[in-house]
Symmetry: C2
Subunit: 355 residues, 2 copies
DNA sequence: CTGTTAGCGCATTCAG
DNA sequence: CTGAATGCGCTAACAG
């Protein structure tokens, strides 16, 4: 189906001039006669001339394109990050190609190769839950192509990244549950391949400890975030001889599943079971009862990641230092943890991971 | 920041052979000595060689990449379509670059130019609600680059497209409302720039007419799908001297807004106001009451669009005929229109637009 | 089996 | 101000 695309040579021939002049006119070079320039521009429009970015990129060794790779984009989180990235990159004249690893390590590796082959100038990435080996990203580093991680970051690569304060968010969530009277607080965690999953787990543990509550291993389940299985774990927790009176879930979709299970079992939320999620999905404010959730600045996550990348793209090879940005979270309290007449006690100041 | 990437010439030099042989070994050409091939492959791995797709595309005049452009991707609809497209294109060895026009005509035009410049082999697109002029897509046609529309299609371009049966979906939705006893059914429609918006409006009108109900212009509002304003229109309808007893909304987000307004005003759904949406967003089954909605096969929409594009990409220039695929919709009945004890009457057979 | 050559479309020297 | 020449990295004839 491939057809001939008009080139500067076509325009040059049509006008009886050299392709150099056409090139100059098209790129806005000053040294072109005004009349000639106008004739060239007119002709270009007339024949639907469209510059061949492939040729230019090959020549200049820059594509003006960066990649962003995310593990999924059905929930609102990653799409919103992507929009933030695009806004910011567009402002600096970069295009963004979006890749979707679908939580598959294999796909992630394949995508990384494709991005490398298409010579992106940089990469923004949140890795899959299967990813333990980061060689496919280290290649970028070795080749001098900037990489920025966000949300799910790789610790043992010396690159920029932007995350939210997962530890603090989790701590505040659990603290809130304690302050509203819960004593057996379960945690449905993510896989320990994920940095943010580990940090949220630490926040959960430390909050319990600092408030003098035991950490019962029975109440902590790490799962693979496969939503289809969430209800199994929730049911398991509720079937325990000594069931939890609260659940802190790794993310909102998981918390929503829990809410559903509770509803089906006739368990009253928040009276018999309080539930807290993470990310403040728009759904959380629409359902009944509303889901209490740890909110994170999603769009800003993308913007900051983009800014880090741009800074690195525009830095001299040797004068660049990786930066790590941590954005704040905040707890949005809704009906899944408190009835409107409840009172909330003061918080501990500045929780930090125990040494 | 740009650094030198290893090329086949580097490998050739390192091994003291010609770049042609390297090229042959790397592309799997049979005429290469097995030992030489192995040495080349080893060296390639060792130096992180990654083919330069730019050079190959420039040479072959094929990028193996197609673009998909969508107007938004916060709601579940477009992401899910994109996933369907990617699956299908990957199966045929194509990459997909995702573009986001953000419902902005200007951005759409800019994206189209960028895709043209980067020489995509084909394009799958759902246009913005602002788009009235399709010149930026017609350029693709003129250059022999296949274009497939989906969801929001352009009627006056002779290209393939895939849609759902919006007319029928709307008809069945309104029929359902009539059969459950509603007589003043309002329609919060989309802008008339959108094909699907117009078709849903027709289905709404014809259902009323065929069931002998008047079409009251007062009850039909076309709006720009800007969710922030949805509540204004819903309130306007509910404030009418003779307010509606049912609302058929253009899409689920709009219907959810309506549900919210009703809740705030203390209007009972479904008793005083029945509400139906379109697309069956996952949220619709989570909220209380559940939202009755016209479901469409979203993933399949993407797959079919991809298949149409692939068929065209692989067809001979002249033997290709545009195809138009219409996928079925089905009504998912939930609590926003019926209490569980309600009975539903039989439907009219095969509704079709009135001539 | 392997090396040489040409050229994809373009920006950019270097000469006029 | 303009044209001719060069080369980005690669594949595909074309000769050995």
């Amino acid at each position: 189906m491939a057809t001939h695309q008009t080139t500067i040579i076509d325009i040059a021939h049509a006008l009886g001039i050299s392709k150099s002049t056409v090139s100059r006119a098209l790129t806005g070079h000053p040294n072109v006669n005004e009349k000639t320039r106008q004739r060239i521009l007119d002709m270009a429009t007339q024949v639907d001339y469209q510059r061949n970015q492939l040729a230019i990129s090959l020549l200049t060794n820059r594509t003006g394109t960066v990649g962003i790779m995310v593990p999924e984009f059905i929930s609102f989180f990653f799409p919103k990050v992507i929009i933030g990235v695009q806004e910011e990159m567009a402002r600096s004249g970069y295009n963004v190609v979006i890749c979707h690893s679908n939580e598959s390590y294999e796909t992630e590796v394949a995508n990384a190769k494709a991005l490398l082959a298409s010579r992106v100038d940089g990469l923004i990435v949140s890795h899959t839950k299967e990813t333990r080996n980061f060689d496919h990203f280290k290649v970028f580093q070795r080749k001098g192509i900037p990489v920025v991680f966000f949300n799910r970051v790789c610790e043992d690569m010396n690159v920029s990244n932007v995350t939210v304060d997962d530890y603090n968010g989790a701590f505040r969530a659990v603290e809130h549950l304690i302050q509203t009277g819960r004593r057996r607080i379960a945690h449905l965690a993510g896989p320990d391949t994920l940095m943010n999953s580990r940090n949220r787990l630490s926040g959960y543990r430390d909050a319990l400890t600092q408030y003098g509550l035991p950490v019962d291993p029975e109440l902590v389940i790490a799962y693979d975030l496969n939503l289809d299985k969430a209800n199994i774990y929730v049911n398991h927790l509720l079937n325990l001889p000594n069931p939890p009176d609260a659940l802190f879930a790794m993310n909102d979709p998981t918390a929503l599943e829990a809410l559903n299970v509770a509803k089906h079992r006739g368990i009253s939320v928040p009276d018999d079971l309080a539930i807290v999620g993470f990310s403040d999905d728009p759904i959380s404010s629409l359902i009944e009862p509303g889901l209490t959730s740890v909110s994170q600045p999603v769009g800003e996550l993308g913007q900051q990641a983009a800014q880090l990348l741009i800074r690195q793209l525009e830095a001299k090879e040797d004068e660049f230092q990786p930066e790590r940005i941590v954005l704040p979270t905040s707890l949005i309290v809704r009906g899944s943890t408190v009835r409107s007449d409840a009172t909330i006690l003061p918080q501990l100041p500045h929780p930090r991971p125990l040494p």
